[in-house]
Symmetry: C2
């Protein structure tokens, strides 16, 4: 069963296939401030970066003992961060957890370790899944529902999805994983943004045959630069993933930060609450300027506007970087502002940008 | 032409094949303090860790702006660290430089990108080269000279070599690379410890067909926990390596640290000098207790002693962790002490350990 949020417009999905690329200069990923500096002539420090789904209120980095930087990250450090991930994400005892320098590293490795020709990615979504399997020679189909990808050797779904926030019922995903496993097939559930919707997570069922769950540390904890992500999967695949990445895959500071943050239940709970509050403010503003919220999570909002690409550029001229999509020229995705000051800046810039585009 | 240091005993090489594994509990790598804590019951902070070739006097970590931790490491950060590596290592203009989260990540990826069945590793050396090619299905031969591996599709040599410090003349390696390239063959020159012997480096010739040079950031700069390494290679292979690792492979802090440190010519020069001084002190001590220096670099010393494994354990009981080799029970490798206090501790412990083993 697919959970369709009330604000979700199925029409929006159709745009992916019908719209042509209108602006090939739009960035492939969010977060490339350097490119924005070059394009719009605004210095690095003056940008309000809302182009990613990374929490702008980061977990405090704190300090590290010198050996964290100096020594090879030893076994005890690895055990510690894996233990924190197990309790923090609520991972089933039978599952193997593999730490990586970012979920992206796992996305790069999985196609090398799972032999598959026919891969289905529930789309639109984060483009690197399709990219990495294609690069390894697989034929990748962008499907619009789980059922459409049922016959693929590997089925990939992001839950909740980026950019549209589409949610999938975890027990339905588990049932599919078990059915697929009997045919030697896999389902990859990328839970990159699941920290704000823990009820959707399959972490408690990880280890089930045919199921690979990916968790990103950097997004919810706001520490994308640290590079840390996890695969939760059956033992045998985990052993192969770990062997493929080799020793010392994760940096000492990332392991220490991960271990601290994933155990900090108070910070996690307070952050879920404040992200929910800010999301309500952003949605109200978007509605107020005449744009439509198509969906999202409490880390980003996908919006629809007839003149979205012009608004994207008009915001960028004002030093506010959002995310536009060459393939969907009526979409803008907004990351969340860090605080009331940043929200105010977005408020002023967005009203001005929309007015400019509307010719007011 | 192979440069044979005057203190190098060719007999030592023979031990690799003739000795049997005497102590399977010896660690596979240095640096695993956690395992030593468990085995010898000495708390983490009380160890003098001389088990690696990592410079114990680290480059100062300094501070980072918050965005280094929080944002995805953007293109400008990548360009900056690659630029610093190009000038710091003196890399030829035509060569591609690819940054990775540690040289180990490159060692893991290369066998996936270069198709080869027959691989030769000049041995004894760092075990992960043979391991990663074997894991990818190649047949790996441990050869004792470059010429012996001439016919292999991929020939791997560490220069200067770990653990014995054996040195290879760079122009001879270049000539071999060029000859091999005409047959579609590669030579991988792992320069993990080359910062202390820059005259041996092939960085200035990188980009030559058939040549892959690996540089480790963490060893000389003493920041192994940061995870940073580089491949210097022809453009086409570099493009494939970079694509295989995907975006944001290196953490923000590692990129910033690398960019700072690789440009700090004064620190680099002073450190080369102080490591050379400490090496002389350590060699004198080793000689004084009746052990023989077989070779090494100014980051580690390989020694020979009839009762090396008992001395290794006797040192460990005293909280001094060195590196012993199950396959070569008459070898101990010593990393360098950080300062005179650490040297004094080694001095006292080594004299006591040797006396204990000699039954004095």
């Amino acid at each position: 069963m697919i959970i369709v949020p009330p604000y979700w417009f199925l029409e929006a999905l159709g745009e992916v296939v019908t719209y042509e690329v209108v602006d090939s200069s739009l960035p492939v990923h969010g977060g490339d401030i350097a490119a924005a500096v070059k394009r719009y002539g605004i210095p690095h420090e003056q940008w309000l970066d809302l182009s990613t789904g990374i929490n702008p209120c980061a977990y405090p980095v704190g300090t590290f003992t010198p050996d964290v930087w100096q020594a090879l990250p030893d076994k005890s450090l690895e055990i510690d961060v894996l233990d924190a991930a197990r309790s923090g994400y609520g991972v089933a005892d039978g599952a193997r957890i593999v730490a990586a320098p970012g979920t992206q590293a796992l996305i790069q490795w999985l196609p090398r370790l799972i032999s598959a020709q026919d891969v289905a990615v529930v789309s639109p979504t984060y483009s690197e899944h399709a990219g990495s399997w294609t690069a390894c020679g697989a034929t990748v189909r962008e499907v619009s529902s789980l059922s459409e990808g049922d016959d693929a050797e590997v089925l990939i779904v992001v839950n909740p999805n980026n950019p549209n926030g589409r949610m999938y019922e975890p027990l339905d995903l588990l049932r599919r994983a078990e059915g697929r496993a009997r045919q030697g097939r896999w389902i990859i559930v990328d839970e990159a943004f699941c920290d704000v919707t823990p009820e959707l997570s399959l972490a408690r069922k990880a280890g089930a045959p045919g199921l690979i769950v990916l968790r990103s540390f950097g997004k919810f904890f706001g520490l994308a630069g640290a590079r840390l992500g996890f695969a939760l999967c059956p033992q045998e695949l985990g052993d192969r993933l770990s062997a493929a990445m080799g020793p010392w895959a994760v940096s000492g500071p990332a392991a220490v930060l991960g271990a601290r943050a994933l155990r900090d239940a108070d910070w996690i709970e307070a952050t879920r609450q404040s992200l929910a509050d800010m999301t309500r403010s952003v949605d109200a503003l978007i509605h107020d300027v005449g744009m439509t919220v198509l969906g999202g999570t409490n880390l980003f909002r996908l919006t629809h506007f007839e003149q979205a690409v012009p608004v994207y550029h008009a915001l960028a001229k004002r030093g506010v970087l959002t995310r536009a999509y060459a393939a969907c020229p009526q979409w803008i995705r907004f990351g969340l502002p860090a605080d009331q000051d940043a929200f105010h800046r977005l408020d002023v810039a967005l009203r001005a940008a929309v007015a400019e585009v509307n010719g007011a």
